[in-house]
Every structure is written in structure tokens, then in C-alpha cells.
Symmetry: C2
Subunit: 403 residues, 2 copies
Amino acid sequence: MLVVKKFGGTSVANKERIYNVAKRCIEEYKKGNQVVVVLSAMGDTTDELLEKAFEINPRASKRELDMLLTTGEQVSVALMAMAINGMGVPAVSLNAFQVMMYSTSAYGNSRFKRVDTDRIRHELESGKIVIVTGFQAVNKYDDYTTLGRGGSDTTAVALASVLHADKCEIYTDVDGVYTADPRVVKNARKLNEVTYDEMLELASHGAKVLHNRSVEMAKKYGVPLVVRSSLNDHEGTIVKEVAKMEKMLITGVAGEKDVVRVSVIGIDDKPGIAFKIFNTLAKNKINVDIILQSIGRDGTKDISFTVAQGDLTGTLEVLGANKEALTIQEVKYKTDVAKISIVGAGMMSNPGVAARMFEALYNSGININMISTSEIRITVLIAENEMDRALNAVHEEFRLGME
Amino acid sequence: MLVVKKFGGTSVANKERIYNVAKRCIEEYKKGNQVVVVLSAMGDTTDELLEKAFEINPRASKRELDMLLTTGEQVSVALMAMAINGMGVPAVSLNAFQVMMYSTSAYGNSRFKRVDTDRIRHELESGKIVIVTGFQAVNKYDDYTTLGRGGSDTTAVALASVLHADKCEIYTDVDGVYTADPRVVKNARKLNEVTYDEMLELASHGAKVLHNRSVEMAKKYGVPLVVRSSLNDHEGTIVKEVAKMEKMLITGVAGEKDVVRVSVIGIDDKPGIAFKIFNTLAKNKINVDIILQSIGRDGTKDISFTVAQGDLTGTLEVLGANKEALTIQEVKYKTDVAKISIVGAGMMSNPGVAARMFEALYNSGININMISTSEIRITVLIAENEMDRALNAVHEEFRLGME
């Protein structure tokens, strides 16, 4: 069996944790399996490197930032190889140049184009545990690129895909995917199985356990994912195409505070204006989430939408620069908002799920600002300080804590 | 004009020093020159990485150590590119994979085999300052190797050679090559010019300013070297094939404490035994320096020789393991010894130089243990605690402090 295991930065933050990961990999190896390990940079390394960079040049180019940041994973993999070797098992560390992991040319946020398997296969066949740098790739100019947030998860899924791995295990500091964030909802329950689509919706709407790009790729190439804890031997959560039918309408709830509501006031009530606004934002790579349109006075209307907090400045700049063309009278924004979402493949065939969610919130005195839905998700925008209460109310309503 | 500039770890140890180097490179660039910069890892980075490695695995493999250490230079070059970019000048950082600097396969102590120029030329022609990682290369397995002590100097000379650079400047924390270590000999004088051979002898016998391998390569490929300070604009010392005849017999004196005298006692006084001893040591990659043979009693003889302190353990192991075959009765060693050497192309045509050196030492009451000479060098072994006094006495005798 070929197993890809991915460990994040906290799992390799110090000597003891490196030893812990080394032992887990050796256990797998001793079962007679081939083991590929993907690692992130140790602990806060990436943040420390960024700090150094911005001290030198606050507008450092993404090309040079990637050149700097990719050293972090290289340190991790070299130390891990030493740890595993020290425990008597052959191991070798490889970076993106050595594996030949090729990406698009976009620095800071590239995507894999092609990942070679020759070197890894060769090392696996010579009996070694192979340790690969996550988060990094090489573009057509022979420059390092990084894969953006959650990049090491994506590396693990990409390697699992090209190597036709039997399993891709994403190790994290929680036991798996939960019905809600266990720090917020006391009786949140770990899920045994979840579909790619449910995981995608959860990941895209606040569940931090996996990055949505890695789930997208796993779905596309049918890579069987397991999310599990690096601290214990619990089974974890399997992410796959069809999950076992549990008796649940809803798989989980997720909350997201990293959101701002932007309101564009008093635009002409003419066809095409709304399109122009969102087209302009899209051209500037600003992702808009929930949208609400309402009729204003005097032949004008208002449009509200949400963006990630990091995109607020860009959004205001873009709207400001195109104020006349977009017939905008005024732009307002509100940062103390949050989204909560319920996700579940079961809701497709069960009407009335939305109504139950809204009623549960109403009974808790929580006001709903905006609503957005997909086939397997319902998201509402509420006040930020009511998020934890809302998550508990909805979790309770759908009895997600029960087996 | 194409100029290669190499800066060591102390020259890039913090933000201010990085800025200082960036400014010097930009000055050169603004003169209309093409500039290639070779950097070492910042400050104590390499030692810190080694410490981390040995904490994880005291017997870490050289392959993984090289994988770890090469991150140090990559951090330096990325930060330098950011600094130069921040000052408004285009710059790009490159590592050994990007330049394609190929070496022999020996980890930890490789030698260059082939250095490509395409990428560097391309970046220079597009108007950029090119910043290259020193000390590292890639071997035929596509693994990182490091070049051993003084490796970044060698990188600079190799690049200057393949790029046919007009000048290769080695920046250091002193003003150039001195007639003696200025910290020991008060009136030591900076030399304006020195030949490759003199520099080689000085470097091989204790002058720390350049590593002998880089001088060897500069001599072989006729690369014009300049040793100068990164802290001021003084001219530095030019190292080249034929130096201007100064009125000096002797170019400089060097002292070296990193030496042990090993004595092999009571071996058979038969032909071939001495050869066997040194052949056995050579096979184990132990470099022997000064050798002295003396007749013992009862048809036996004694042989003394010096090795670097780091080779003492290996030497004792090798001799111990082959005690019978080499007919050794006893092995002794003495660590509190030092070598001092005088070097100068002028001594070839001037007999009596050795006698003057010995007399100067005798007049200072310093006892000579062993002697070794080359065409342009005389080395003596003395007690370690007399080294500084010996250097001053010899420096004075040959009036090296006078212009």
C-alpha cells in the first residue's frame, strides 16, 4: 500500500513533535507500506520569514518572497529525514526542484500543472521513506512559487493523485471533521464520513480543517482523503465521493468571522448596472459571496454583498475609482458581521430545512441580515457577536450532537 | 564591465549590513557595470542550523545536512534581492538549481564540475543585479551539496571564471591581505598586490582571509581577485599571476594554531615503513603537513608529523588499527603547538632567508621543533604560547611593516 501523510507546521514545531511524526511514519513503514510524507514549515517559521522580509522591504516582490518562504519547508524535511534516519529507517528529503513539481507561474498563489513521479518512485523502491516539501512548486522560469493558503494539503493531494496512493492522510490538531467547531459548540460530534461536496462547502464557509482547493483537487481526481489527529490514533474522518447515509439531514454547521458586508447605495435602477459592479470586482480578483438587492427611492436601488476582510480595501478602491461609471451615490461597509452555514447532502431531498434554521435563530432572538443557498448549503449573515450562540442554536435544532 | 562581488556571513548579518551591501552593489551597477553578487548565510545561521540538526540526530547524514544548510544562503539572497529592489534597482536571487551549478557528488565537501551561464546572462542582460547563493551546488543525483570551508569564495571565483568577469571582489572584514595578522602584529601592513602562489601559501598556512581552494581555482583560470573590506572604500589587495616587485624578499607571515604534532615511536628501520604509514593516512583522507624522521635505538626509528586538530581522532584510530602492520611501538601527540610560516616569491632567488628567520626566533628565545619548506615558503613548528611573539619577531626581522 502507498500512503501519503501530511503534517502541518504545529506538528513539526520542535524536536519532540518531529520525533512523534517520525515514529508515526515508521509505524506505517513497518507495516510494509510505502510512505510519502509532506511537511509544512516548522511552527511560526513562515510568519517569522515574512516579518524579516517586510522589515527589509515592505513591498517585497512575490517572486522573492517565495524564494524566501520555500526555505521553511526545506528545513522541515531535512530535519525529519535526520530524525527518521536516527531511528534506523532509511529516509530522504526532497524539495520541489528535486521532485519536479511544476506550477503555474503566479508567485504566492500558484496551482500545480504537472508533478513528476520518477524521483519519488525511485526512492520508494529503494526502501526509503520519502519526505517532500509542501506548499512549494517550480514554475516555467525555474523559479520557486508557493501555493497559497492550505498549500501543503494541496501538495499532499497532488502527490497522492499522481502516485495513485491508496490513502492520503491529512494530520491536524483535531480528531477529524466535526459537526461544528468543538471549541464553540460543546456537544459537537466527530463525523466518520463526509462527501467531497459537503467538505467543500464546510471548508469554503469557515471550517478550517482542510483548505477548499485541496478538497476540490481530491474530488476531481478521486483521492481518498482522511483527516485525523497527529496526537492520537483515533480513526479520523474519511472524505470521499459518497458518504455512508447517516440518519442526518445536515452534516455540520460552520461559522466564519472573516467577512465584511459592503453596501452600494443609490445606483440607477437600470438593467446591467449590477452586472457591471460585480464584473468590475471580478476583474480585480475580488470574490463576492452573498448578494442582496433592494429597491431604494427615486428610481435607485441598493446592493449589498459580502467579501473577505482582506479584500475590503481593494473593494473600496475599485468602487471608488469607478463611482461615476457605476452610478454609485455612496458606499458603506460593516465589519462586525459573521456568516453561519449549514451543510448536508440530505437537504436536497428535504424541503423545509431553511425554515427550521431560520426559526431556530428567531427563537434565539438572532436577526438574519442576508441569505444565500446552494443545493447542499444554507448560509445566513448575522451580527458577529451572535455567531457562537447561533452555531449552538442551529446545532441543537438539527440534533447534530446525537449519533 | 562584469564584476562578481562576494560578501560573507557577517556582511549580511542584519538589516543594516544588508542595506550596506545593497548600496555597494547599486553603486557598481550605476557605473554601468553588470553585477553578480555571491552571498553566504547570514551571521551564525549555518552554526544554528547545524546545532538544530545534531539535536535531532547527532549522526545526521551529510546528504541531509547539505539539504538543511543550503537554506541559509537562499534566505540571504532573497532578502538581498528585496533590499536592492526596495532601493529602486531590479535584482533577482538565484540558487544552485536555478543557476545550474553542478558539483561532484561528495556531500559536505564537493567541488564544482560545471557551472551554466544561461540564466545569469539572461538576467544580467535584462538589466538586473543577479544575487547567487554561495557555498552550494547540485550533484548528478539532483541533490544539494555544499563546498566545504570557504565555499562561497569558491562560488565567486567559479562564476567569475565562467562569466569571464573583469573582476572578482572578495569582501571581508579586513582591508585586504596583510603582511601578518594585524590583531597580533601591531605594524602589520596591507599589501597592494600578491601573487596567486604567495596567497596560496599564506592561505594554506593560517591566513584566514581567503580559502586556498578558491585561490587555486583563481590561479588555474586566471581570475583576477581583489580582497577588500565591506566596511570602507579602501583599495584592497589584488591577487594575480605576477605581482609588482616590491622591494621585499618576504610578502607576509602567517600563524596557525589548528595543528597537532603526532609522533610514531619505535618503528622498524626498514625501507617502505614510512611510506606505508603516510599511505595509510592518505587513504583515510588525513592530510599530513610537516614530517620529521629521526633515528631511534635498537634498529628502530621515530617519525613525527603534524595534522589539523580535527584529524587527530581519525589519525589515532587509523594508526591504532594498523599498529602491527606498521610496526608501531607507541603513538604520542602534542596539541599545544603552532606553525608559523614566511611566504614570498622573492626568497627563490635569495639564499639565507631561512637562516635569518631561525636567527630571529633564536634571538627571541623561541625553540624550533620541526621545519618544512617550499620554493616560496618556510614553516616552523613552535610552542603554541610563543606564536604571537614569534610572528612579531619575524615580521620585525624582515621589516615587513615598512612600505
